[in-house]
């Protein structure tokens, strides 16, 4: 049964087609080689499989299903939480968190000895949002009646009770100002509420009455506008927060990490070891997802954690022994000779416990002895139950161990078959040596 299926995979970079409609299927426990001249798009195929590139077309299935980060409830919950948090933050900023703090904390807390009630603070917060007039203590033990945002003072009272009465009267004015009318009455001017009966205030001339009406209408309108702005900000924050979370997730749906966790490991053509880490740490790093334990356990280095680390070390040691690097555990990766670095990359890839391993030119830069050892190593990897996909230029390596070979030229598959079939294929010979007519 086939483990990896490429169906019409196309990778385009701008106008350049690197891989064109590639069909290919790799069976379990097979050694499958991809060969072709330089620039044929072999590494691009590997990059598309491991999620470094997103194929422009076609599909890649592993074990019969496409590799994608699943949509889980956790993501939905996270998007909701992030959305709500951004919404609340944006709303608070729009409603002026500074003034809100003053209204709730500062007005309620009068010093270390005075009692403070969170319920009163909460009530004042609601009052601030509604735009209720508030009392603020001022110097000399007096109280000021102020608008919710503290921008205007509407009067003073010497005692709290007096101030409260003043506040209630002013509040009535604020509430009724918008619908109030200025009515002439016995050469004085009255501000009458919209029920036509309640007289709110009496003035000596019309201009004062009109000005007062305008002033109180503005005071009443300010919190309405602020509430509207805050609501818009909160909704925008909600949408942006949750959509952003979703977008980040969506963009990383086929990230290399997801592919690796599903069981595809790879090595790189231009060696990409963690240069400044030791050989052992390179392998341990790749075992990351098989090591459990929370940050707290790691920080406290609990006995369970130590045990797991020791087990991981032992396992990593075995992998290094498998590729023949057991004696170099403490060396830095960069200080290894070239051939050893390639083998370390293989050990690191094996440490992720893959089902399929992609080797990108593992024999590049190796001498004949090393490359024949590599043949043995690849064979042993297959005996561990893994499937191997290989890009290689050394024909000795390729023809010696491959079960199947696909030949790419300019991004197009020109041949596929057993080593003998490929060797005899005229299209392959043409791709490598040029056609007869050229001579």
């Amino acid at each position: 049964m086939s483990l990896l299926d490429l169906d019409k995979v196309t990778v385009r970079f701008g106008g350049l087609t690197a891989v064109d409609q590639l069909d290919c299927s790799v069976d379990e426990r097979q050694i499958f080689s991809v060969i072709g001249p330089n620039g044929a798009g072999k590494t691009t195929v590997f990059n598309a499989i491991t999620g470094i590139y997103h194929p422009s077309g076609g599909s890649i299935a592993f074990d019969g299903r496409p590799l994608r980060r699943p949509l889980t409830w956790r993501l939905i919950a996270l998007a909701a939480v992030v959305g709500v948090c951004t919404g609340v933050a944006a709303g608070l900023l729009a409603i002026d968190v500074n003034a809100l703090w003053r209204a709730t904390i500062k007005r309620n807390y009068l010093g270390p000895d005075a009692p403070f009630s969170y319920r009163a603070a909460w009530r004042d917060a609601a009052g601030y949002v509604r735009g209720d007039l508030a009392l603020a203590p001022v110097r000399g033990g007096r109280w000021a009646v102020r608008t919710a945002d503290d921008r205007r003072t509407l009067g003073y009272g010497d005692a709290r009770q007096e101030a409260e009465q003043l506040r209630d009267r002013q509040q009535q004015l604020v509430d009724a100002a918008a619908g109030a009318q200025v009515v002439a009455q016995d050469d004085r001017w009255q501000l009458v509420a919209d029920d036509g009966q309640r007289v709110l205030e009496t003035f000596d001339n019309e201009a004062d009455a009109q000005a007062t009406r305008a002033q109180y209408t503005a005071i009443a309108a300010a919190p309405v506008a602020r509430r509207r702005d805050a609501l818009i900000a909160a909704l925008l924050g909600l949408v942006i927060g949750s959509a952003g979370t979703w977008a980040v997730w969506h963009r990383a749906r086929r990230s290399p990490e997801v592919i690796s966790r599903a069981g595809i490991a790879r090595t790189f053509q231009n060696i990409r070891l963690f240069q400044d880490m030791t050989v052992l740490d390179n392998v341990l790093t790749a075992m990351d997802r098989h090591l459990s334990g929370s940050v707290v356990q790691m920080a406290l280095r609990t006995p369970a954690m130590r045990r797991r680390e020791a087990e991981a070390r032992a396992h990593a040691g075995k992998l290094l022994e498998f590729v023949g690097l057991a004696h170099r555990e403490t060396a830095l990766a960069k200080n290894l000779p070239y051939g050893d670095q390639r083998r370390l990359e293989i050990a690191r890839a094996l440490a992720t416990e893959p089902k399929l391993i992609l080797l990108d030119e593992p024999a590049a830069g190796m001498n004949p002895t090393e490359s024949s050892q590599l043949n043995g190593l690849i064979e042993r990897i297959r005996q561990r139950g893994l499937t191997v996909m290989l890009i290689e230029h050394h024909m000795k390596v390729v023809m010696g161990i491959s079960d199947r070979i696909a030949v790419l030229d300019y991004g197009v598959k020109i041949a596929e078959g057993t080593p003998d079939e490929v060797r005899a294929n005229p299209a392959v010979i043409e791709a490598y040596l040029g056609s007869e007519e050229v001579h």
């Binding site: 270390p112 690796s260 400044d276 790093t285 403490t330």
Partner: protein
Amino acid sequence: MTPTAKRMPVWPLYLGVLVVYPLLVYPERALAGLTEISVGRQLTYIFIYAILALGLNVVVGYTGLLHLGIAAFFGIGAYITGILTVSAYPFQTGFLVALVASTIGAAVFGMLLGAPTLRLRGDYVAIVTLGFGEVTRFTLRNLEEITAGTRGLNPVPPPQLPGFVETPLSWLGIGADWSLDYRLFYYLALGVLVAVIWLLANVERSRLGRAWVAIREDELAATCMGINAARVKLSAFAIGCGLAGLAGCLYATTLTSTAGPDAFDFNRSMIMLCCVILGGLGSIRGTLLGVFLLVGFDNVVAPVLDGLIQAAQINTSGNRFLTFSNWKLMIFGLALVLMVRFRPEGLLPSAQIEAELGHERKSHRPAEAPA
């Protein structure tokens, strides 16, 4: 690399000196004649800056993300502590709650900053973090009702000592009054610093520590090995900024004030970065050495030399060029230039980076022994 014989670790010696120092009366008194500064009091601040630098080291040293706004998180920690403890606000939770809240609060802000920078590399991370640092400073200044603007929140009360600690302290001759005796803050900061070092050393050797370094070394290869780069970077931001918040809490408590927002400006971030680079990126020992050298030079050596010059009556006319403090920045800059020229890996680099840069130097010499 030649195998070195297992040596006795030297850190217990350093720790011993630092633990014993405040109990000796003589050194403080000897210096008291020269300047008004108390070395012990300054050491307390050095410990606090060491925690801050260790936090920065997690982000810059291990994970390789150039963070230029660490002071902002130091400030966030200080202000959270201020808001939770000062008598001007009703919360007055006490020191321990403030300590935890500052750490967690700064860590959350660190993640908020980290999340949008996940896809950025190198210089771009630096620009975003630099901007965030300045934004934080101005936000702290402009939220006048909450943060008291440029004045800062004060007084931040000292921690409450449990009763059973006071008696043993009095045997050692340490009073229980935080405002009179610096030694309480000294031991508090030293204790927290030792705990932080221990925890970080453990994380460094664990899965997460390796993932941080792997991201620094080669992010693509790390993700291809199944490491979730986003999560690892966020954890580095959270832990690094959380430690900065913890340091901020200790700073505000020791100073009994949050200081103004300008105490958390770009300069402070820069000095901390210099400490980490001077000591050696990605090395706990190196970072500690860097802080002791740079902050120690700034806070202890310079004032003491000033005092000496004053005492010797060299500078009676008040000549600016004869005041050591005025040469401070020049010496500091010169030292950095020389260091980058002759020892780019830092004074005490991590074993890994030391091998990397040391290797290049050694390759010029004839091989001493075949590998």
